[in-house]
Symmetry: C2
Subunit: 318 residues, 2 copies
């Protein structure tokens, strides 16, 4: 696939004449995304950059770089700042989780202020494959395996956000080629994706090893599997309630009658709405264990000194 | 988990006083399974052994070994013979696929003759993990990732077969330990699982490499993911028609209205009913492409000189 003259079918639902947010770290992928959006006719975009304050003076230089890019392309610019290290310590989260949460909170603020609900992000096919393996090895369950979707919606801080990833079918090498051909400048290491050593190991060692040992196009196979799983996730979402607040107690009886596949997703959605970090299969299963009325245990711990409790036929998050 | 005093909850639906088939190759796992079934009170089992004729005199010795085992345990014995190499050549299948198909055809014959519809198989947790990775790397889609379930039903040659895998939550090391402790004799290499070099590479090289590089319990994570996916597969099956023959033409319009996740499973089930070998995601997608009425192409090739064709609003397998 050549990125020039590239236009994925699902983008037809996002006409070029509307206004969109676009997340730009200043790294290669988001710089390519922004350029591609502009040349594809998306003129009315708002460039959003969060300074994670993780890389000292470099972080400030990244922000200036992205601001200049917005000026050059004659589009709006929104800058946010978050002390991700402090947020991680305070929320007892990994740096990676804290950075992601900070980004989404920042996006939610812009969504509300600018009344613009759709954001384009620069994740590509290799990101999808790496995330799939990362979540597989972590035991994040099926929802984790379909974590990156071309189009997904979520609620953050009462804002409805639609995340669109136009490049999810494009490989890193194709983006590299596009960046070279178009002579685009970008900031090395500006991406905040590299906060997990595990992700780096998967990218730098595990995937090359698998390609050599299996002697098949395993990246393509994994990409396809993740794509199917994302579609199945979309299907499951149509079966779940639209809005699910952590403040709502879940009534046990109807939940007990659901298929396990639905129970898991319902609880996953509820825990995520409650901002429970690092949701693993094990955690969801422990909460699901509360549905078993024959078991005496009616309480299970959640990260950050919180817990889920069954009382009077309902499950509460406390 | 200790295999002695082990009894998985899902086996409660299979009371010990009924009659069951049990597949015994003579290898370590199936010998352990048979011993465990007997000591758990399953007295009325019929030992089924298929001679795949792949290992010459050893294959005949395997069969004699299993027959003696049945005599020793005082249970019925059924022997089948299949020239798997010839079947593979004739059906243009891999040896592995031909061996599996031959086994299931053999089981189906016994099911009909003995009027006993449930078979116990000796697959364990490591088999599950290896199969998951094998199918992931092959691009076999989500149905491939949940290929091994504790309980699954299938139709083969008009026989309804329920396959039960009591040891799917037990690791190979635990089976080894059980075999040692109980002093069980078995035939080295009697298992017919080792027909794929790719599976051997995954077992012998890929999984040890991943464990070393990721430094997490990746087998456990993959096992859990596969288990969730199997449950989701069960959920999807409740949404599909019970019986689906390859002879039935599929009506396009209702299929077009289904979610992609259901279309894929419907077509997968239909193609499997048509005995189409080596079902990949790509193949299912090509057949699914026939649902797109705007595309001129109304025919796609299937393995073995067959094809699927859309005509007069229906899809036929020919």
């Amino acid at each position: 696939m050549r990125l020039v003259a590239f236009y994925p079918e699902f983008l037809r639902d996002f006409p070029t004449n509307r206004r969109y947010l676009v997340g730009v770290s200043g790294g290669r992928d988001s710089v390519a995304l922004l350029h591609w959006l502009k040349t594809s006719g998306y003129d009315n975009v708002i460039v959003c950059h969060l300074n994670h304050q993780l890389r000292g003076r470099s972080a400030a230089a990244d922000a200036r770089f992205v601001e200049k890019l917005a000026t050059k392309y004659d589009v709006d610019f929104e800058l946010g700042c978050a002390d991700v290290r402090a947020l991680a310590a305070k929320g007892k989260k990994s740096l990676e989780t804290a950075a992601r949460d900070a980004r989404y909170s920042f996006f939610a603020r812009i969504v509300k202020r600018r009344r613009c609900h759709t954001i384009f992000l620069g994740h590509h096919a290799d990101d999808l494959v790496e995330t799939f393996l990362l979540n597989l090895f972590r035991g994040a369950g099926t929802t984790g395996l379909s974590a990156m979707r071309e189009i997904s919606t979520r609620q953050i801080d009462d804002a409805d956000l639609t995340v669109v990833r136009p490049l999810l079918g494009v490989w890193r090498t194709e983006i590299d080629k596009y960046v070279r051909e178009q002579g685009l400048k970008f900031r090395e290491d500006a991406s905040n994706r590299d906060l997990t050593p595990l992700r780096n190991r998967i990218r730098g060692r595990v995937i090359p090893y698998l390609e050599k040992t299996i002697r098949r196009n395993i990246r393509q196979s994994i990409w396809r599997t993740a794509t199917i799983m994302a579609e199945e996730e979309n299907f499951f979402e149509t079966l779940l309630p639209d809005k699910l607040s952590a403040l709502t107690a879940l009534t046990v009886e109807p939940l007990r009658k659901m298929a396990s596949a639905l129970q898991r997703r319902m609880l996953h959605k509820w825990l995520r709405a409650g901002d429970v970090p690092d949701l693993t299969f094990d955690l969801v299963e422990r909460v699901r264990g509360l549905l078993d009325l024959t078991k005496g245990v009616a309480k299970t711990n959640l990260p950050g000194n919180r817990h889920a409790r069954r009382r009077a036929g309902k499950i509460f998050m406390e």
